[in-house]
């Protein structure tokens, strides 16, 4: 074991290099142009190292693919010891690759997006810091290190979301992100406390090897608390409110938060703790149900949003719901698989949206919102690269074969079908809705007639190379990324992803696999529903609108009234209520209850603060009087417990 630890001794560089980059940008570098280079170079180096780890790891036999690399002993006291140590195993390697790989592309893209911003040095240092925190989170071999990364990503997201601090809304959004995360964090800490209390250690190896009987009395509490922590970080209902607001940050930040880092932390944590979760059926059910509810709830809201980034934000929430659904039904591999593919296409979607926003920002007249879908349309020919790459990403997220999202989503739905048919239905419906709202977004942005004025149209330019190249790379990944995990039913033994992760999840009970025909039927069903969603979007947002416009004058002449009628029915019976309910969900649940609850709690605490504050009268004798009251309490206590 020793020589192996040594051969991996360089892994500490992976998180350290971005930290170094941040350090240089904060303290040494003052040149904005260089700052981006530094940031990209460090992340690129980390990515290469992560690749090195990956290849080294697959060179090892299955059983030995889990190596603890101790960097130094962090805390050693009489009662416990915690090391700064990294765990290199397939799961952490996958996360490393995703974080550094997608992160690298986002860094490169940022050079184009943020290069001209006045504070871009600060921006890149935050970005690097974010990478550092996330890498610590996924690489640590103990809960304490994970917690350090956990808090670190929270802090960095807060800094980045509030980056454009001139905007008050940005600062508030940053605050909100932090506060909501705090709720989750609190639960997470409590979970850790219980683990520490019962397992006596915070190192994964010790905790996961702990006798289930020892943990049994609190296992449900532990896992539920951990899960609440994951809900906060991964934006699950009802702790998701921060994520849509987090759109206030620069768009690459949204891409980073949503795709590669931060939000995936919760999924990673649940997967990492699968040993614990598997011991509590209650917790597993909770994970699955919350995941499914979140998936459909967020998708529902996404149906009617007009802000392009907000649609994507709710879509992220919804997709994360899928991942938790997968974990909850015991398909941890599927959850991580979806995490990976989602990282590809969601990063691409955000960066594509960023590209559009970037273009429109310069083109649109003052007062027109460059993020509003109603101000877009017809951009297909103006921004061809962005359009094509986003089309591929949209196909991927909609779950159309053979794009990346198809394979991972399919696996999740398969798991749900086997273990929880009710949740499978929810997932299926969500799939259709996903296809609908994503294509709605695509059509409203790129398709149909442009809603820009001529002057504006002329000013729209495709983004620069430095921004489009990452888009293209991600588009390729979104297209072929799914082939790393080809389902068994198509080609036996080709599920390389599952095979790679298998040693990590080997302790779990063997998953039931339905017959090939069932599996294929499910696939077809999924695809059909996705296609239906696309068709719906097409009808409403491409054909629907234009037909409607053309129909009115022609109505007198032709009898295609029927078509109109159908559309009308569709509109009143389906689109209308859906829109209303979705709006209602957003307004009542999100704004009123959850936000309101937060506000109310904050207000209560504040008013208590004010009440106590005004006992501080400034008169010294009042203070003395309070002291005497205290003394009286002490004496009452003393005589009290010695009394009869």
């Amino acid at each position: 074991m020793n020589h192996m630890t040594e051969s991996f001794s360089y892994v500490w560089l992976i998180p350290f290099l971005p930290l170094l980059g941040a350090f240089i940008n904060v303290f040494v570098n003052r040149n904005p142009r260089v700052s981006g280079m530094i940031a990209c170079a460090t992340v690129a180096a980390s990515f290469l190292l992560a690749l090195g780890v990956f290849f080294q790891l697959i060179g090892l036999p299955d059983g030995e693919r889990s190596v603890d690399v101790v960097v130094y002993s962090w805390i050693t006291t009489g009662t416990f010891a915690v090391d700064v140590a990294f765990l290199v195993d397939p799961l952490s390697t996958v996360m490393m690759l995703v974080v550094t790989g997608v992160g690298l592309l986002i860094h490169v893209y940022s050079i184009g997006y943020m290069g001209k911003d006045a504070c871009c040095v600060r921006y890149f240092s935050y970005l690097n810091l974010f990478m550092f925190a996330m890498l610590i989170l996924v690489m640590g071999n103990n809960f304490l290190l994970m917690f350090v990364g956990w808090e670190g990503v929270g802090l960095c997201s807060y800094l980045l979301i509030g980056f454009w601090c001139e905007r008050r809304s940005a600062a508030n959004a940053g605050m909100k992100a932090f506060v909501v995360n705090r709720i989750g964090d609190f639960a997470f800490i409590l979970g850790l406390l219980l683990i520490f209390l019962y397992a006596g250690s915070l190192t994964y190896a010790d905790v996961f090897a702990a006798d289930p009987a020892v943990l049994a009395p609190v296992i449900t509490a532990i896992t539920l608390l951990l899960f609440v922590g994951a809900m906060g970080k991964s934006a699950q209902v009802p702790l998701h409110v921060w994520l849509p607001d987090a759109m206030e940050g620069p768009t690459p930040v949204s891409a980073l938060i949503h795709a590669a880092t931060m939000v995936t932390a919760g999924v990673y944590m649940v997967a990492r703790c699968h040993v614990l979760f598997a011991q509590s059926a209650t917790a597993m059910t909770a994970v699955a149900v919350v995941g499914a509810v979140t998936a459909i709830f967020a998708a529902y809201i996404a149906l009617t949003q007009y802000d392009i980034k907000r649609v994507l934000a709710y879509s992220t929430v919804s997709q994360l719901g899928y991942m938790f659904l997968a974990c909850g039904v015991g398909y941890f591999t599927a959850g991580i698989f979806h995490l990976v593919t989602h990282a590809f296409f969601k990063a691409l979607l955000f960066m594509g949206a960023g590209s559009v926003i970037h273009a429109l920002e310069h083109a649109l007249e003052k007062g027109r919102d460059p993020q509003d879908l109603r101000n877009m349309g017809g951009l297909r020919d103006l921004m061809p690269v962005t359009y094509k790459s986003m089309l591929l990403a949209t196909l991927a997220i909609a779950g159309i074969a053979p794009f990346a999202g198809f394979f991972s989503k399919d696996l999740i739905l398969l798991g749900a079908f086997v273990n929880a048919p009710a949740l499978w239905l929810v997932g299926l419906a969500t799939g259709a809705m996903t296809a609908f709202y994503m294509f709605r977004l695509l059509f409203m942005t790129f398709g149909g007639e442009t809603r820009l004025s001529r002057d504006e149209t002329e000013k729209v330019r495709e983004s620069s190379r430095v921004m489009t190249i990452p888009l293209v790379l991600l588009a390729v990944l979104s297209t072929v990324g799914g082939f790393i995990g080809i389902p068994h039913v198509f080609a036996a033994g080709m599920d390389r992803f599952g095979g790679f992760l298998a040693p990590v999840f080997s302790g779990l009970p063997e998953a039931q696999v339905p017959s090939a025909s069932v599996e294929l039927t499910l696939m077809v069903l999924t695809l059909l529903l996705a296609a239906a969603g696309i068709w719906g979007a097409y009808t409403v947002y491409i054909r629907g609108n234009s037909i409607f416009d053309r129909l009115v004058p022609r109505a007198l002449y032709t009898l295609s009234l029927e078509k109109f009628y159908v559309d009308e029915i569709y509109d009143t019976l389906i689109v209308g209520p859906v829109r209303k309910i979705a709006r209602g969900c957003w307004r009542i649940l999100d704004s009123a209850i959850i936000d309101g609850g937060l506000t109310l709690a904050a207000l209560t605490v504040r008013s208590m603060g004010n009440a106590i504050r005004y006992t501080q009268t400034g008169v010294v004798q009042n203070y003395a009087l309070i002291m005497v009251v205290g003394a009286l309490v002490v004496f009452a206590y003393i005589t009290g417990f010695l009394g009869p």
């Binding site: 009662t79 509030g162 004010n610 504050r613 010294v620 002490v634 010695l642």
Partner: protein, 488 residues
């Protein structure tokens, strides 16, 4: 008459002797106007010498002062505490230099009193007898009364000093009466003797007297560490005091009182431990709650820090319940970290307020991030540390403290503490938000120009220390553990 002279071991009180002599030298040299500029540096030098003396004695104890009655003992615990006090004083001197000069309070007496105060704390830490403790406390308190009121013409300084004085003397009265009762119960004021009485067979009457005495001591010490409900002076006094003095007050005098509490617990309380737990835990939780909740609504920075320091006192009270070496070590560790953090926070204010209008409210910090990047960075580090965010020392301190608490089986208390430390994040981050995310006022309150080099050195040192301890806590942790090992 023939009096047997006791065998005295001056070596045992060497740090205290050096400190008192240092203060007296500073006092005398301060009388000469021509040395005025050099006084702070002389103080630093002499503090360093005292530090070296203390370091040299580490590991040699325990050595009692005399064979007749120990009164004071030299052991690692007292020495580590003394070193913390000295470090705090060094930082205080550094942040004082520009502040004191600008306000013409840079006199020898100022620095001399600061060192006298350190000597008083050191006496408290080394005491093994209630009377030396009481006298050390008075040495500390009287120095502080004067230091707080040092800005004679400033009404706030004056008011703060008077309030602290009246309440401090009031609290001293309680301590003294408590000591009288303890003396009556056990016939001595030595910790050991009291412990013997507690440990032995005792009648209900003696028991009651002992409890009453300890209760009164609790009132007095509770005052010093600003435990609710004996905390009310804290915000007013911090606000009124000259900022470096407030820094010193919030760290040193609180630390000294805690050190005494730990030593008392180690030797005197064990017999009473179980009986005290409900009371102390309720008061600790109240302290945490009041500190954090009121800090939420403060806009005056010094008051905000005052309430935050109340809250921190509450956290540090918690592990007392655990009654373990771990618990005590975690308090010592917390105290060390807390000293660096709070001196840093007040230090930023002191450096900013040196010239021009004092930096008093959150608004005065607006735009600091772009005006004074380094200073703002220090403040941010300190705030994160106070909030307990990794990888700062504050996180380590909280982690160690709460894990000791959990180990002791007080999970509920740990949960409450964690909950409120979550609340506290709001107001610490608000400071950061104001520095980085609010545009500066047209005319910033603080004067333009260079900040004092010495002040910045001190601040950068404490910020670096906070980060370093956050990443490499082991050495300091072991020091803290070693310190409490020597306790009975």
């Amino acid at each position: 008459m023939n009096t047997a002279l006791p065998v005295i071991n001056l070596y045992a009180v060497m740090p205290q002797i050096v400190l008192v002599s240092a203060a007296t030298v500073v006092l005398i040299v301060g009388l000469f106007e021509r040395f005025r500029k050099g006084i702070p540096y002389l103080s630093l030098l002499l503090l360093a010498v005292s530090g070296v003396v203390a370091v040299n004695q580490l590991g040699l104890g325990p050595v009692p002062f005399s064979d007749v009655s120990s009164m004071m003992v030299m052991d690692d615990f007292g020495l580590v505490a003394t070193l913390v006090f000295i470090a705090g004083a060094v930082l205080t001197v550094l942040i004082s230099i520009s502040y004191a000069e600008a306000r013409s309070i840079d006199r020898g007496e100022y620095y001399a009193l600061l060192i006298y105060a350190v000597s008083g704390m050191s006496m408290m830490a080394a005491s093994t007898d209630l009377f030396t403790f009481f006298l050390g406390l008075e040495v500390l308190s009287i120095s502080l009364y004067v230091l707080i009121g040092f800005e004679q013409r400033d009404a706030g300084s004056n008011e703060g000093a008077l309030k602290y004085f009246l309440l401090g003397a009031f609290a001293s009265g309680f301590i003294l009466y408590g000591m009288a009762l303890l003396y009556g119960a056990s016939g001595s004021t030595e910790y050991e003797a009291i412990a013997r009485t507690l440990g032995g067979e005792r009648s209900d009457a003696v028991n009651l007297l002992l409890l009453g005495g300890l209760g009164l001591l609790l009132v007095g010490i509770g005052f010093k560490i600003s435990m609710v409900p004996f905390h009310a002076w804290t915000p007013d006094v911090y606000q009124g005091a000259p900022t470096p003095v407030a820094a010193f007050l919030s760290t040193g005098s609180k630390a000294a009182a805690f050190v005494v509490l730990i030593r008392l617990l180690g030797s005197v309380f064990p017999g009473l431990q179980m009986e005290w737990i409900p009371l102390i835990s309720v008061l600790a939780v109240l302290t945490i709650a009041v500190g954090n909740v009121v800090a939420l609504v403060q806009t005056n920075l010094k008051r905000l820090l005052a309430y935050s320091s109340i809250a921190h006192a509450g956290y540090m009270l918690l592990p007392l319940m655990a009654d373990s070496q771990d618990g005590s070590a975690s308090i010592v560790f917390y105290l060390i970290v807390y000293t660096a953090m709070n001196l840093g926070a007040f230090g930023v204010l002191a450096v900013l307020s040196a010239r021009g209008a004092p930096c008093a409210t959150l608004e005065d910090l607006a735009g600091l991030g772009s005006r004074r990047p380094l200073l703002a960075a220090v403040m941010a580090v300190v705030m994160f540390s106070l909030a307990g965010i990794p990888p700062t020392a504050g996180f380590m301190a909280k982690f160690y403290l709460f894990s000791a608490l959990v180990h002791g089986g007080y999970v509920e208390l740990a949960v409450i503490g964690l909950l409120f430390s979550g609340v506290s994040l709001y107001y610490y981050l608000r400071v950061v938000v104001w520095m980085y995310m609010r545009p500066a006022a047209e005319t910033p309150a603080e004067a333009a120009g260079r900040l004092s080099y010495t002040g910045m050195t001190a601040l950068c040192l404490s910020a670096l220390a906070i980060l370093a301890v956050g990443v490499f806590p082991s050495e300091l942790l072991q020091l803290a553990e070693r310190a409490v090992m020597t306790l009975p």
